[in-house]
């Protein structure tokens, strides 16, 4: 780099750029948070959904599955599983695990009772109704 471009110029670009773009990021964040009520399905965010989210977390579902495309890539996307499979199939499937089919990927049994299964399904239904800009591309997730 040329000698006329000094270290202090570079330092000023760093501090100025960092501060400017962080403030811009904060401004976009404020706008996003204000826009979210129209998109994030909070009208259906019930106590039951909150309980379901906690079950989702304490059983580390994200360790195999993706939810809205984020997580591990070992097992199917669950952001749209409510539409793909429906509530009864989801509950029956969770109860039937593990399949024990030789060589097939296995899901543990988490010993959830019926009320907990309903909570989890309520959470997946809520998640499936978030406005995700039409992602995933098709029902297979």
């Amino acid at each position: 780099m040329s000698a006329s471009f000094t270290k202090s110029t570079a330092r000023n670009i760093f501090y100025g750029g960092a501060v400017f773009f962080f403030l811009l990021f904060l401004a976009l964040t404020v706008d996003t948070v204000q826009t979210l009520p129209k998109r994030d399905n909070r009208a259906n965010l019930t106590e039951q959904v909150a309980r379901g989210k906690k079950l989702w977390e304490v059983n580390n579902c994200i360790g195999c599955h993706t939810l809205l495309g984020e997580g591990a890539y070992f097992a199917p996307e669950l952001g749209n599983v409510y539409q793909r499979r429906g509530p009864e199939f989801i509950k029956a499937w969770i109860k039937a695990q593990p399949t024990g089919a030789p060589g097939r990927r296995q899901m543990p049994n988490f010993h959830l009772n019926d009320a907990e299964l309903d909570d989890l399904v309520a959470f997946l239904k809520y998640a499936s109704e978030i406005d995700t800009n039409k992602w995933p591309p098709n029902i297979e997730g």
Partner: protein, 479 residues
């Protein structure tokens, strides 16, 4: 994991005031941090191999180690060993830059054991009891933070991480405040403080999934595509000053330009995670444009490393350290820059989001940027802490073999996962009659086998890397 850390290299003799290759005796507190980092790295790769096998033999080690547990161990060990590496780098680099002893070497030693024991207990917890039980016995109900990707640690572990970070930052900040202030130490401290501050968002876990995900990225993205790059830049600059003898003014100018570009592109670049999680559509524009620019600072890092080595004013006898420094420049650009750009534009990401393409990028980016820069630092500092300017020629040859084995294996891991990802997108998301997730996985199993084979080569490289610490102890080069 403490046993594997203990099994890792233990130098003969150890630091003494007579060690003329380090300027301040307290710098040697870095050594246990580096030893632990390498030990945990071994654990990470073993669990990676287990997971790789579970991709093709689904019931391997089930129910003893379900995939989700193996993955949690794999990713958490990665984060913890890199943190050990950054901390070791901080304890070595800051006293040297500040031209004074570390504020409190004793505090650094205590912090090391607290962090190691807390980390080991957490990993044992993951493996010994079901995750839901771990959540219950660690009081997750009081402040639920668990069960989110990479932030699976029990809340009490997270609090422990904050305390360890505060102790570390206090120690280093006091050292910097009392000593010489250089651009390298300033950038390192900014990065480390940023790391601690953004980690605090891991305690925010609202019921609202969109808000949860939005601020989860303030930890994950603003770490790896933000403040961690400052730490990486400072570490690389430090080693380049030492091994090339190029004027510090020039190196620090490069450092500022690189990290300026990092934050100018990377902060708004967070938007590439806000395409499909319920956030407004305008993020597709902001995220695509700014993250498309994110390769620039990584490319500058490549140019930086090669330029400085070309303009070197001395021939440093530690050739291995120079190789790691050049390697991290290249591999960070490929993994973070090129493989990141590959799927960062919103119309592309619409199809690739949450597939093996993401996994391929994750592997090469973490290895190229962060694993390799920590090994650069270890390669440069370990011989000095062991009382010699550089390792013997024989030891360096083994280390360089390890470099090539691991690096080439990682290139192949990335290529095979990319192949798997392209086919996955094609079969599952494109065309008239898309296949289901599991049907697709069955069809691409061949690529997962190849990835596992490359993983075995990587592991061999890692073992060779450890061997290099024990080669040719007696005939160390005096340079």
């Amino acid at each position: 994991m403490s046993t594997s850390a203990k099994a890792a290299p233990r130098p003969a003799g150890g630091p003494t005031p007579a060690n003329m290759h380090i300027r301040f005796a307290s710098q040697t507190v870095a050594k246990p941090y580096f030893v632990a980092a390498i030990g945990l790295f071994v654990g990470q790769v073993i669990f990676g191999l287990i997971m790789g096998l579970q991709y093709v033999i689904g019931d391997f080690l089930f129910p003893e180690i379900p995939f989700n547990v193996a993955r949690m161990v794999h990713t958490n060990l990665l984060i913890v060993w890199l943190l050990f590496g950054f901390m070791g780098a901080g304890y070595y680099l800051i006293p040297e830059e500040s031209e004074r002893e570390l504020h409190s070497p004793l505090l650094a030693k205590i912090t090391f054991w607290v962090f190691l024991v807390a980390g080991a207990l957490t990993i044992v917890g993951y493996l010994a009891v079901p995750y839901a039980t771990l959540a219950k016995i660690t009081g997750n109900d009081l402040l639920p933070t668990m069960g989110r990707e990479f932030l699976e640690q029990p809340t009490i572990t997270k609090i422990g991480i904050v305390l360890v970070a505060l102790s570390f930052l206090f120690n280093l900040s006091m050292t910097v405040l009392k000593g010489r202030k250089t651009s390298i130490s300033l950038v390192m401290m900014l990065g480390l403080w940023g790391l601690a501050i953004f980690f605090l968002f891991s305690f925010y876990n609202p019921h609202n999934l969109v808000l949860d995900k939005y601020f989860w990225w303030w930890v994950v993205h603003l770490w790896v595509e933000g403040v961690w790059e400052l730490i990486m830049g400072a570490m690389l600059a430090f080693v380049l000053v030492k091994v090339t003898g190029v004027d510090r003014e020039i190196i620090e100018k490069w450092l500022y330009v690189i990290i300026a570009m990092t934050l100018i592109t990377g902060i708004i670049g967070t938007g590439h995670h806000y395409f499909w999680i319920g956030t407004p559509g305008y993020w597709q524009v902001w995220g695509s444009v700014f993250s498309a620019l994110e390769p620039i600072p990584f490319f500058m890092m490549t140019l930086f490393a090669f330029n400085m080595v070309n303009k070197r004013r001395r021939e440093h006898p530690n050739k291995a350290a120079v190789l790691w420094a050049l390697g991290t420049g290249v591999m960070a650009f490929l993994g973070a820059g090129v493989w990141g750009f590959l799927h960062t534009l919103a119309p592309v990401n619409y199809l690739t989001h949450g597939t093996q393409i993401t996994a391929s990028h994750g592997h090469m980016a973490f290895y190229g940027a962060y694993a390799m820069v920590v090994m650069t630092m270890i390669s440069y500092t370990m011989p000095l802490m062991r009382g010699r300017e550089a390792n013997s020629n024989g030891a360096q040859v083994v280390e360089m073999w390890a470099f090539w084995l691991m690096t080439i294996a990682m290139v192949f891991i990335t290529l095979f996962l990319t192949g798997a990802g392209i086919l996955q997108v094609w079969m599952q998301r494109m065309g008239e009659q898309p296949l289901g997730f599991m049907a697709t996985q069955d069809k691409i199993a061949f690529f997962y086998w190849l990835r596992e084979a490359a993983g075995v080569v990587f592991f061999a490289g890692l073992l060779l890397y450890i061997v290099s610490f024990f080669v040719g102890k007696r005939e160390a080069a005096r340079g």
